[in-house]
Structures are given as C-alpha cells and as structure tokens.
Symmetry: C2
Subunit: 135 residues, 2 copies
DNA sequence: ATAGGCACCGTACCCAGGTACGGAGACAAG
DNA sequence: CTTGTCTCCGTACCTGGGTACGGTGCCTAT
C-alpha cells in the first residue's frame, strides 16, 4: 500500500499527463515530492497516481487547481459540508457563465440570421450592431 | 469630422477604458497612433472613440482581439459574407462552450443534490466521484 | 565501461487581455 | 515660474495551467 514502486515517468503515464505536469503539480503543492534516496531517483505509489486522477477529474468539473487543493485537503475524514459549499459556489459560477454565454449566443444567432451573407445588402447587421455601441 | 479634438485620457474616458488599454490596443494594431506634433501631445477623434466602442462591443459578443481586428478591416464596403463566416464560427464555439459547461453543471448539480451536506454520512458523493476517476 | 534513455532541477516561455511602473516631457492654473 | 496633472514610452508583471530547454546525474543493457 505504502510501497514505493514506480518512477515519475510511469506515474505520468498512469495518470495520463506529462512528466512536466507532475512536476508542475509538485511545485503548486498539489502533489508531495517523495524523498529522494541519496543515490537514485524518487519513487511514486499508486496513491500518487490516484491523486493525479482526482485532480484531473476535478478539472473536468470546472474546479481550479486552488479549489482542488482545498478539496484534496478535505478528502479524508468527514468534510461533506465544506465540500458541498465549494461545489455549490462552483455550480453558481458555472451557471453564471452559461447564462453569459447564452446571452452572447442569443444576440449573435439573431444577428447571423438577419445577415443576408451576400455582399449586396445595404449594410451588414453584424457590423451595424457593433458600431451602435448600444452598451 | 476628421477634426482632431481630444487627448488620450479623454478618449479612454469616452470609451470606458483606461489609458493603458488604449495604448495596449495601439500596440496590438487595433487602433492607429495619431501623428504627434513636434511639440505637444497626440490628438484623437470621435472616430477613434467609436472604434474603441466597436472593440468593446465585439468582446461582449465573445470575439477575440484578433477576430475584432479582422472585423474592423471588414467594416467599410460590403463584406457581409466574410463577416458572417467569422460570426458563424464564433457562434459554433460559443455553443460548444455552453454544451461543455452544461455537462459540468449537470454532473455537479447531481452530485450536490446527492450530498447530504452534513458531516455524518458514510462518504461524500462529491469526493467519491472525484476519487472514482471514471474517465 | 560505455551509450542511450530517463530523472532532476532551475528557469524561461506560452496564451489573452490587459495592468503597473518609472522617468521624462508637456501644458494649464495660480 | 512653479506646481501638479497629463502624456509619452519602454518595459515588466499579472492570472491559470501548463510546456519547453538545457545541463547534469543516475540507471540499465550490452
């Protein structure tokens, strides 16, 4: 379980990232740097691989590395409440971003629809709209 | 119309950005640098203010500065077709982003719902999910 | 014992869209 | 005519999440 059994390159491979990314996570404090024997290279465990996968899953849900650091610190013991708070905040942010993009989508699709797309029309509605600066 | 009438600070104010931003747009080639009289400061026109507002409107619709540069170059004459192509590409990207965020939102809201939020439960579904690394 | 391939480490660079700093010149008010 | 506020200009820095480089050390197979 605590057995150190593979090198950084193998760890990177197992977790689906590059060696540079592992080292980057170590610098960011997301991943511990294992003790280096006076002669030889550092050794990593299955737990390290699991941790990197946790980070990647967190990113897929939209969490930043700072948030993931916090989530990792809440991994052990019962911290459901704290975790839920972080998740709800992220959920709110995601919904805001969706709403903001939805507005862009709506305006832009309307403009595109109104744009003939031939170069004959009096004026391009898209250009017109940008020039209006309606605020 | 072509009358040069105000300074960079006034331009920034009119357009709702900072002086630094104006200078940044000049470096990026979005905005021309007016001739500087041998003695004195550069002067800007209402057209410059209009152009900065165009840039800001473009950003609100999700366009990058590079895309806005292109849109600005298509402002004059009839380039409706080319403009529409750019807008459609952007629209596609926005829709992709919405879809990606929607998936996050769905997964995360499901997890949040399943999370009791008290620290008593056996295991936090959110932490569990991140640890699964289901890919 | 030596060659090739990793590991180690510090540091610099990438993207986008700015923001900040600092010295020097210009200009308007008092 | 001096003081204070702009302007001008080059350059460095910021966020986030990495990617790249280059010299050296270590390990393994031949």
């Amino acid at each position: 379980m605590t057995q150190k059994n593979f090198t950084i390159g193998v760890l990177a491979n197992k977790a689906g990232v590059t060696v540079e990314t592992i080292r980057f996570y170590q610098r960011r404090g997301l991943l511990a740097v294992p003790v280096k024997p006076l002669k030889g290279v550092r050794h990593y465990t299955e737990g390290d691989a699991q941790r990197v996968r946790f980070i990647k899953e967190g990113q897929k849900l939209g969490f930043t590395l700072d948030e993931i650091t916090e989530l990792l610190s809440l991994e052990e013991d019962r911290h459901c409440r704290e975790v839920k708070v972080i998740a709800l905040k992220k959920l709110g942010l995601i919904r805001e971003r969706i709403e903001s993009l939805r507005k862009m989508e709506s305006t832009l699709s309307d403009l595109v629809e109104r744009c003939a797309g031939n170069n004959d029309s009096i004026a391009c509605p898209i250009i017109e709209s940008l020039s209006q600066a309606s605020k």
